[in-house]
């Protein structure tokens, strides 16, 4: 890779940040094959909530598009109509295949998924360069078999039957809304405004019924609220799912409900009582942050550190402290003095603290690779982050298609 796609971190500014988009796209148009060869996704870390992978060989605009879609835009494109109920079993099997145990498995699955569809990349579908790139890239990234939509379910409407607690109805409702729910949003429809009652197709009903009382069994020597009162803390686990219509047959008890049982909603004191019905609907992050499927979705460009001239002795140790641990190592060189070398710049936090020392600041050059994105997707838990990513790509692709269809 040439100097061209390196972002340089100077003492006071960042240079070479933006690649000329036009330039890049025309590049890509000509060298689509090149791009296909170069483009890579490496999965680095995966667990059920956090997903870190590298996306190499794409312009920042596209990486950003993915990020934006993840945060709020997922399924901005809504297909009208009922969900395909015959697709349901198929979808289910697809999903089951994605809940993996090890990082390796995920890696393989995502790769096969992406590679499998990359073969069908159209050569030149549209004259407009930008669009072409977008469409082709998203095509490359995403699949075409199902137009994705991954919004989330969140409590959106609360019927307050009784609330004698200290918390105001609106505040309580707001807090309930922010609790992440365990329910596959792909199995639900968007709620239409005309309907006053939710149906089993579009809503989930929960009940919260709790009353705090004094613990009669507590001894006189007890002073802590935990001993004195019963049910004085309302947790998310107290939300009880009440199936509507045929939901009982469709979902199992453990499939629906708050993801975390221990989210403290509020505290009560004896005599306080809450009874409410909460309705969760499907929505997108753009409407309200509670519908966002991710806690964070962001990327950073791969840092690179180059030691320009040899740094030895005390200076070397000092240099090491300027970077995150494990970035700069110290080894004995031929002369037997301790010299600093770069072990791995990947996990450097780019704190640029070398610039604090005048004698060290021109010994290193810090750059970031502008087409290497270290993506992190942290799910709120409704869907695993890898699915979120794939869904994001689908959405992106759909958007590109919509746009390209509108351009003659």
């Amino acid at each position: 890779m040439g100097k061209k796609n390196k972002v340089t971190l100077n003492e006071h500014n960042v240079t070479n940040t933006a690649d000329d988009f036009e330039d890049l796209s025309s590049d890509m148009k000509e060298n689509l094959k090149d791009f296909r060869d170069k483009f890579r996704i490496d999965i680095v870390k995966y667990d059920h909530e956090k997903f870190e992978f590298d996306m190499i060989g794409i312009p920042p605009a596209i990486a950003n598009a993915v990020r934006r879609v993840l945060i709020s835009d997922i399924s901005d494109t809504i297909i009208n109509g009922k969900p395909d109920h015959h697709l349901f079993p198929f979808l289910k099997s697809e999903l089951e295949g994605v809940n993996f145990e090890s990082v390796e498995e995920v890696k393989q699955a995502v790769h096969s998924f992406i590679r499998g569809h990359a073969e069908r990349l159209p050569r030149t579908r549209h004259p407009k360069a930008v669009l072409l790139v977008l469409v082709s890239v998203s095509d490359l990234l995403g699949s075409s078999w199902l137009c994705g939509e991954v919004p989330t379910m969140a409590i959106d409407r609360v019927h307050m039957l009784n609330n004698t607690s200290l918390m105001q109805d609106e505040v309580l409702a707001h807090r309930l809304g922010l609790i992440p729910l365990k329910a596959d949003p792909r199995l639900f429809e968007y709620r239409t405004e005309e309907e006053s009652e939710g149906t089993d197709q579009d809503s989930l009903q929960f009940e919260l019924k709790i009353k705090c009382s004094r613990n009669v069994a507590a001894g006189n020597d007890k002073t802590l609220p935990d001993d004195l009162y019963i049910d004085h803390k309302v947790y998310s686990k107290h939300l009880k799912w009440i199936p509507i219509g045929g939901q009982e047959d469709l979902y199992k008890e453990e499939e629906i409900g708050p993801i975390h049982d221990d989210i403290l909603i509020m505290k009560l004191r004896p005599g306080h009582e809450i009874e409410l019905r909460a309705f969760a609907y499907k929505g997108v992050g753009r409407d309200h942050a509670k519908f966002s499927p991710v806690a964070t979705a962001h990327y950073r460009q791969l840092p690179e550190i180059r030691i320009l001239r040899s740094v030895a002795g005390e200076k070397a140790r000092r240099l090491a402290t300027c970077f995150s641990p494990g970035v700069i190592g110290i080894k004995k060189n031929k002369e037997g003095t301790e010299e600093a070398y770069v072990i791995d710049a990947r996990y450097d936090s780019s704190s640029r603290n070398v610039f604090r020392y005048d004698d060290l600041k021109d010994c290193v050059e810090m750059t970031r690779v502008s087409d290497h994105f270290i993506f992190t997707v942290e799910s709120t838990g409704a869907l695993s982050p890898d699915i979120l990513f794939i869904e994001a790509l689908k959405t992106l692709k759909k958007k590109c298609k919509e746009l390209s269809d509108q351009i003659p």
């Binding site: 950003n64 922010l178 992050g285 964070t296 962001h298 950073r300 704190s351």
Partner: protein
């Protein structure tokens, strides 16, 4: 200079670690005294001590008619607060009950009396004469000494400072009033530039002002009871000092002074004897307007003698017409004038804080009570005079004529209205009390420390407004409003204490024992000998001393070991050759650590004991480790800021330097890095910030209450924040701020907000309002009533207006109230004109007078209270609640006087993000920094960021707090850039930003100004009946005024049709007929003046113009209109 360096070294050589934690004395000081100790101390003094003194000095009532009749007060007590619940059921009450039921939190004033009924002498104990409003947390308040648990049972907040009154449900503060000191000699320049000496004397029953001035090289005494100024020699002679030598010796026999007196001596050659002088004065006396009935007018000589004895320099006691003390005092005044004429340094500074006294609730109430008590007594006397001569079956019993409501009403009304009218001093002050602002905890606290000066706000003088060096440590240098009251309204610093009076007698005795020779024993000449110091006690001449150092040292020692009050001030004035001993009330003082031999007496050991709870603040005082210094005594002290600065001459050391700021300025982190006006701005804005008000905030039903849904303790705290419990009742949230420009919607201090943050609850607030009504009983046996909701006969549903009503006719709790809906369906009986004799056969007719909801934005009913108020009428209060999320135009501010409105709300994905994926909650434009120079804000961000990393609060205490270098190290250790600047990626393009972004948490306050309460527009709407012009103001759906300046613009631009349209057509256009021949207004085509319709024309005119013509006509002025054809 060299000397002090030497001393430095001496101290440093000693193997001695500097004290570090002496600031811990501040919390222990505040624990004893509380934050509003000034108010409470003063009120306690009043109800426990001063009230007894007042009664003592007005103890007997005699009748002019019956010489045998007398009434004598033996004692007076103020009890515990209680309320009367009708049928004479009396029970104790709590402040909170009074607040929500619109009652007065007051206690009975009872007296023990002895009086005569006929020929028998009767003793009566515990006789109620009135009710005294009780200050919260004072000695008689039910809250005093209660634990947090007990307070919570009484619905009271443990952090509420008290110090205010609850009168008819409103919380009222008697503001601290600043006054020029009384009973002290003040030498000043008068308006013409001459020197004048002024003494304002004030005793229990007299207030007078005596001046000494020089006119045409002669000295005169002026007084407000005298028509003319009197030559000084005449005054001396009237006092019985007839020899010129004696007089001159009293003033001073230095040649310079003697030569100055020459003209005055010559002037009164004619007046030689005392009688002549008294006659002279008697003629110049202002005529008394009223003579008290019965007493015969005195001769002018007697009048003059009385005047000299009691009124001129009233505070100097004259016993048996022995004028020695008073003459000496007057002589000293003249001497000061003469000295000041030659030496401008002898002039006193009026703005100097040692010459100021602060008047507190206690002393103000004492004035009011004495006035009421005197009126009460004189009323009793007139009743006695009137009734005793009449022969009646029952003997005259004065107790039956004692009305309680006189004293009660005068006290409550004074506090309620703030009008302080004291008849005997002819004093009339307005705005003495204010409603306690409960906007935020800080605003309530800030109000309790506010000092109001009596100075006129309109006058353009800088002296009283500017910051005086003597205010150091006593008054907050930052906390003052901007604009007209700037510098006149001040705030106390954190540790300031205001003294209450203590006994003078013992002090005088001690002073005499130490060697002060009484002034009555000496002639004039010795007084001014070198080395002789005159000793004053509270502005009165006590005597002279030859060894002033011994006097002061012994008294100081006595004070330090607690034998005399710790608030006695000893002040040696070397230029005046005077020792001023003060024990009067209203002086400002603060505690200092005593330093002896270059060592502070407080040691680390003592502080350990303090930590362990073995020692309290009072122990430090008792052991003579700490003492209080007032503004005057500070001048005799050498006070080191910290231990490093101690030299061998140092006498005292500061306890903590941050205490020089007040409560409001104490919230600012790193205020010593900010440009000074920024701190002042924050002091004003902290009072408008929303947050938690008190722990009982949800039990209160206030007219307006703002709450934050999720208030947070600031990441960067100060010691003051912890001391005043701001961390427990905060008003703001820690926002992650990125300092960068974004989108152009952030110019002029506008703020960019992250929508996701708002979704998650940032800046969300609750607004509570109340609705109130009472159901009255009327004398004709009718009463107001509430009816349930109306029901539609067919649908069985109530109409829109009654939708939210419960069965009892009051809105149900939890209901959403929309515009024009009815909250309380009250109706009122119509006045029956039928004669009262006819029996009320028919039910009275009722008129609906519902309480309806007028605001356009809906609210929810939070709670409903049904109770009874002070006149036993039903009282219904509703609390209405709104929840608001920030919107474009809402005002926010950091703690550095940097306010801004929300300019744009941005989706989270459009916000920049950093390597860790952090999106800021808020983006602030960096242009806010260079001109404002709020470096403290930059450091707050840095410290907050480091605190986040380590999970600790950081301190930004004034003149201390975290060091930037340490913060940088901490940031670096946690993998952040040491400058606090990170790489950010644009949320829109996805590329890294070219600049590093300074980002981190800054504590942001949401201010009470919200667009929802302000937005307003109108096309057509209501008009004023009189002028037919559109109404004014948002509340009346008024029009937007095209003002003078806007009019000027249109005129200068020449947009005449626009002008006509704005000023007439869109406002109050009116069609009139005008008679062309007589020029007057005609009516429907007919001129009544000319009796013709020949030349009547039809024109358009502003209605207000027509109105003016008619009003002028009613005053016999006839305006005439001259009409001309447009084409001519």
């Amino acid at each position: 200079m060299g000397d002090s360096n030497l001393n430095h070294r001496q101290c440093k050589d000693s193997p001695h670690a500097y004290l570090e934690n002496q600031w811990k004395l501040v919390p222990s000081f505040l624990k004893v005294k509380g934050l509003v100790k000034q108010h409470i101390d003063s009120f306690n003094y009043f109800i426990n001590v001063e009230i007894k003194k007042i009664v003592k000095s007005n103890e007997t009532i005699l009748s002019d008619v019956d010489p045998l009749f007398y009434l004598k007060y033996k004692d007076i007590y103020v009890g515990k607060p209680e309320i009367e619940e009708g049928f004479n059921i009396i029970r104790s009450t709590t402040p909170h009950e009074c607040r929500i039921r619109d009652l007065t939190y007051s206690a009975p004033i009872t007296v023990d009396i002895e009086y005569t009924r006929g020929n028998t002498r009767i003793l009566r104990n515990n006789l109620l004469i009135g009710r005294m409003p009780i200050m919260l947390r004072s000695s008689n308040c039910v809250l005093t000494g209660k634990t947090e648990f007990e307070l919570s049972k009484m619905n009271e907040c443990p952090h509420d400072p008290g110090g205010y009154f609850v009168v008819r449900g409103t919380e009222k503060v008697i503001l601290i009033q600043e006054q020029i000191t009384q009973n002290r000699i003040l030498v000043e320049k008068d308006r013409k530039g001459g020197v004048m000496c002024q003494v304002t004397s004030s005793t229990h029953d007299k207030k007078s002002r005596t001046t000494v001035i020089m006119k045409r090289n002669k000295y005169y005494v002026g007084h407000n009871a005298l028509q003319d100024d009197i030559p000084i020699m005449v005054v001396f002679k009237a006092m019985g000092f007839e020899s010129d030598q004696l007089i001159v010796q009293m003033i001073g026999s230095e040649p310079l002074i003697m030569s100055r007196l020459l003209h005055s001596l010559v002037e009164c050659e004619d007046v030689c004897t005392q009688l002549q002088a008294l006659n002279f004065i008697g003629k110049k006396m202002r005529q008394k307007r009223f003579f008290s009935a019965g007493s015969k007018p005195k001769s002018p000589v007697d009048d003059a003698r009385d005047l000299l004895a009691t009124t001129v320099l009233a505070h100097v006691p004259v016993e048996n017409f022995n004028f020695k003390g008073k003459a000496m005092y007057l002589a000293l005044m003249i001497r000061r004038v003469i000295q000041a004429q030659d030496d401008p340094e002898m002039l006193d500074d009026r703005d100097y804080y040692g010459n100021k006294r602060l008047e507190l609730a206690g002393s103000l109430l004492a004035l009011m009570f004495e006035d009421a008590f005197k009126r009460f007594n004189s009323e009793l006397k007139t009743i006695a005079d009137k009734i005793i001569p009449k022969i009646k079956a029952a003997q005259f019993d004065v107790v039956k004529h004692m009305r309680q409501d006189l004293i009660t009403n005068q006290l409550t009304l004074a506090i309620l209205t703030g009008n302080w009218t004291i008849r005997r001093f002819k004093m009339e002050r307005h705005g003495v009390t204010q409603v306690l602002s409960r906007l935020s905890y800080i605003s309530a606290l800030g109000m309790m420390t506010r000092v109001n000066s009596q100075f006129e706000k309109t006058r353009k003088v800088s002296g009283p407004r500017s910051l005086q060096p003597s205010q150091w440590g006593m008054l907050c240098p930052s906390d003052t409003p901007e604009g007209e009251a700037c510098g006149l309204v001040k705030n106390l610093a954190l540790m300031t204490h205001i003294t209450t009076e203590s006994e003078e007698g013992p002090l005088a005795q001690i002073a005499h024992n130490i060697g002060v020779e009484s002034i009555s024993l000496i002639s004039g000449d010795e007084v001014y000998k070198p080395g002789v110091f005159i000793v004053f006690l509270n502005g009165n001449l006590l005597g002279i001393t030859v060894n002033h150092e011994r006097l002061v040292n012994i008294l100081r020692m006595l004070r330090r070991c607690g034998r005399i009050s710790e608030f006695v001030s000893l002040y040696v004035h070397h230029r005046h050759h005077c020792v001023y001993i003060s024990c009067d009330g209203g002086r400002l003082c603060r505690p200092y650590i005593i330093v002896e031999d270059g060592r502070p007496l407080v040691t680390a050991e003592h502080l350990n004991e303090l930590d362990q709870g073995i020692r309290r603040f009072q122990d430090f005082l008792n052991d003579g480790l700490i003492e209080f210094l007032d503004v005057n005594e500070e001048n005799n002290s050498m006070i080191a800021l910290d231990e490093k600065n101690i030299t061998i001459n140092t006498t005292h050391m500061e306890i903590a330097s941050f205490t020089l700021l007040g409560v409001c300025a104490g919230l600012i982190p790193f205020p010593h890095h900010n440009q000074s006006p920024r701190n002042t701005y924050q002091c004003a804005m902290g009072k408008q910030a929303m947050g938690a008000v008190s722990y009982n905030q949800l039990n209160r039903i206030d007219t307006l209450l703002y709450n934050l849904v999720y208030p947070q303790t600031p990441m960067v705290k100060t010691r003051t924040i912890e001391l005043i419990n701001y961390d427990k009742l905060p008003a703001g949230q820690n926002a992650t701020v990125a300092v960068m420009s974004y989108s152009g919607y952030d110019i002029e201090d506008a703020i960019i907000m992250n929508k996701a943050s708002l979704d998650r609850g940032f800046g969300r607030c609750l607004v509570y309002r109340n609705a109130k009504c009472s159901l009255k009983h009327y004398p004709n046996q009718t009463f107001d009533r509430i009816l349930g909701p109306l029901m539609d006969a067919e649908t069985k549903k109530p109409p829109y207006k009654h939708e939210i009503l419960d069965g009892d006719g009051i809105a149900a709790i939890g209901q959403q109230v929309k515009e024009r809906q009815i909250l309380v369906n009250k109706s009122m009986p119509l006045l029956n004109i039928a004669s009262p004799g006819t029996p009320q056969a028919t039910l009275p007719e009722y008129k609906e007078v519902p309480v309806s909801y007028r605001t356009s934005a809906p609210s929810y009913v939070e709670k409903v209270m049904v109770s009874s108020n002070h006149d036993d009428a039903f009282l219904i209060k509703l609390s209405l609640r709104q929840t608001r999320r920030p919107e474009v135009g809402d005002k926010f501010s950091s703690r550095h006087g940097q306010k801004g409105v929300v300019g744009l709300i941005v989706e989270q994905e459009d916000m920049p993000f950093n390597d860790q994926g952090i999106c800021p909650d808020m983006i602030m434009n960096p242009h806010g920094f260079p001109s404002r120079m709020t470096v403290g804000k930059l450091i707050e961000l840095l410290a907050g960021k480091a605190g986040l990393m380590t999970g600790t609060y950081k301190y930004g205490t004034a003149f201390g707090g975290a060091k930037v270098e340490d913060i940088c190290d901490e940031l670096m250790a946690n993998g952040f850039n040491y400058l606090g600047k990170d790489v950010f990626y644009s949320g829109i393009t996805g590329e890294p930003l070219q600049a590093y972004i300074y980002s981190g948490p800054i504590y942001y306050q949401k201010l009470k100004h919200m667009v929802q309460d302000k937005m307003h527009a109108r096309s057509r709407g209501p008009r004023v009946v009189l002028t037919r012009q559109p109404t004014e103001g948002r509340s009346k759906d008024g029009g937007l005024r095209l003002g003078e300046m806007e009019r000027d613009c249109l005129i200068s631009y020449g947009a005449s049709m626009m002008l006509l349209e704005r000023l007439m057509i869109s406002s109050d256009v009116f069609d009139v007929d005008v008679c062309g021949s007589c020029g007057r207004l005609a009516y429907s085509g007919w001129c009544h003046g000319c009796q013709s319709s020949a030349s009547v024309s039809h024109i358009k005119l502003p209605y207000s113009c027509k109105l003016l013509f008619q009003e002028l006509q009613s005053m016999n002025i006839v305006p005439k209109l001259t009409l001309k054809n447009y084409c001519d």
